[in-house]
Symmetry: C2
Subunit: 301 residues, 2 copies
């Protein structure tokens, strides 16, 4: 069943020790959709402005993403983000953010998308995520991403959203901010108490942790010697994870662990280039091969 | 074949969000020996002063550690360390260090220890580690721990040591300091270029990374909800790891991964209490049970 993602399409500029990229395609929904596309059909709901890069449609088509829900809004400007990675690639500074079209009304959700079963609400304000979620009455698995700003400044809206989703994906510092717990096992339990039956806590190069009523699981990142640009790592992780969940149609503990492993592997490719370059270059066979390597790395005798 | 550890016995005082412990038994060699004792016989080479806690021998006997090489030095004082953990338990401040007997001559190595095959040189200055290593001409696997101060201030001695050991264990920040590489896959490769055929890079609550000519492996920490005191986590990790290596007599890539998993599990018990309390309370069956849990957590379908 198709997986749908709502979120941002952006024009990014990135400075990293590995080089710089200016005005390249980015945005949470783009990274997510590209990553998820290796696992099955993906639908996109997002708005861009008149200045959206001309290659946007070509790249989405390359990944086979259904872009019926992509709105090119006349008179608007596309979301822009620029950031800088410090020496160790784990610290990011946002240089500038221009919300542009993201600060306007939500993109319309096509009627044909109403039957979507697997929903990923990529990072945006929780009020919008909640509103978008209501368009999918037949949803089976709905998962949201969130971040610090919403935790601090939109908490009631976030709590309302959490009560309606099956899972939440967030960083460790965000999980700590949301729960007041610095131990991530406890933080996961507290988050699940707010509604979702699972929480995936991302730790960047240190992997991710799953909190579920059946137990807690920690998985490492794939140890990569080729880190060019971590932008989109979290979104491509979520894309691989949700792509697998949608392809099997379950979200039990063991399926979630496996889904996180797929997300980990797809994200490990994403960070090997700026923008979508690496994901555009690879195919499912390359992902399968690295997945086998990752699984073997974790196979303890 | 017996495993031998050279290192410190200390009197520790610890402040943590979970409570405080004053003048409790600690030291790298003690944590290591206790952890390794679950896997086979352990010999200890260490010096303490007249003020060493009366329970020292009782605790070493509890773990069945051969303490022929423990010197109680008349007129000397035992190494003392006091530290404080901040809110998230990952940041440690050293409040005070009194080297005392550690600043004096090395303890004598008993002649009966000369046939030791598996050697762990717990953290101390690399000149002393090198000198101690020469007492074991029949060694099969020799591994050293090190830390920032030696990397910065005793580099020639450390390089001389690295040329003679099979493996090195150090933190990620230390690996970065030693190599100038912030990517740990690269750092591991550079370290192996200095001599050892493997490097184990510890990442605290984020697990550990193995660099070996066969490949790189990352393993997560066991996700623990009960973190009372991280003191000794790295030493008990190394103890479990070396205990397993000594018990099977190999240090190939797959054996090292398995050994790191054992180390991870033993360390996860150690941090559940101050000092050696938790390790004193458990038995091998408890370790085996958690190892099975850890292995299942990493089993991806």
């Amino acid at each position: 069943m198709p997986l749908i993602v709502t979120g941002s399409v952006g024009i990014d500029s990135v400075e990293a020790p590995s080089g710089t990229a200016v005005d390249v395609l980015g945005g949470s929904a783009v990274y997510f959709a590209a990553a998820a596309s290796f696992f099955g059909p993906v639908r996109l709901v997002a708005a861009v402005g008149e200045d959206a890069p001309p290659e946007l449609e070509r790249i989405l088509d390359h990944f086979g993403v259904d872009r019926t829900g992509l709105e090119r809004r006349a008179g608007s400007q596309t979301f822009r983000w620029s950031g800088r990675y410090l020496d160790d690639m784990n610290q990011r500074e946002t240089v500038s953010v221009d919300l542009n079209v993201l600060a306007e009304s939500l993109p319309p959700v096509p009627e044909a998308y109403r039957d979507s079963r697997h929903i990923f609400l990529a990072n945006t304000d929780p009020g919008s995520q909640f509103e978008l979620l209501q368009h999918f009455p037949d949803r089976a698995i709905a998962v949201a991403d969130t971040m610090d700003i919403w935790i601090h400044d939109h908490r009631p809206a976030l709590e309302k959203l959490l009560a309606q989703v099956d899972g939440i994906v967030l960083n460790d510092s965000e999980a700590a901010a949301l729960t007041g717990e610095t131990n991530m096992v406890h933080a996961g339990t507290v988050i699940r108490g707010m509604g979702p039956h699972f929480a995936v806590i991302k730790r960047g190069e240190h992997g991710a942790l799953l909190s579920h009523e059946v137990g807690t699981a920690a998985l490492p990142a794939f140890p990569s010697p080729h880190v060019v640009d971590p932008t989109g790592a979290g979104d491509s992780f979520a894309g691989g994870m949700m792509g697998h969940l949608a392809s099997v149609g379950r979200d039990d503990f063991d399926t979630l662990r496996t889904a996180m492993a797929w997300g980990t592997v797809v994200a490990s490719f994403n960070i090997e280039s700026f923008s979508l370059e690496c994901l555009e270059r690879i195919d499912r066979a390359a992902i399968d091969q690295r997945f086998a390597q990752y699984r073997a790395m974790l196979q303890i005798d």
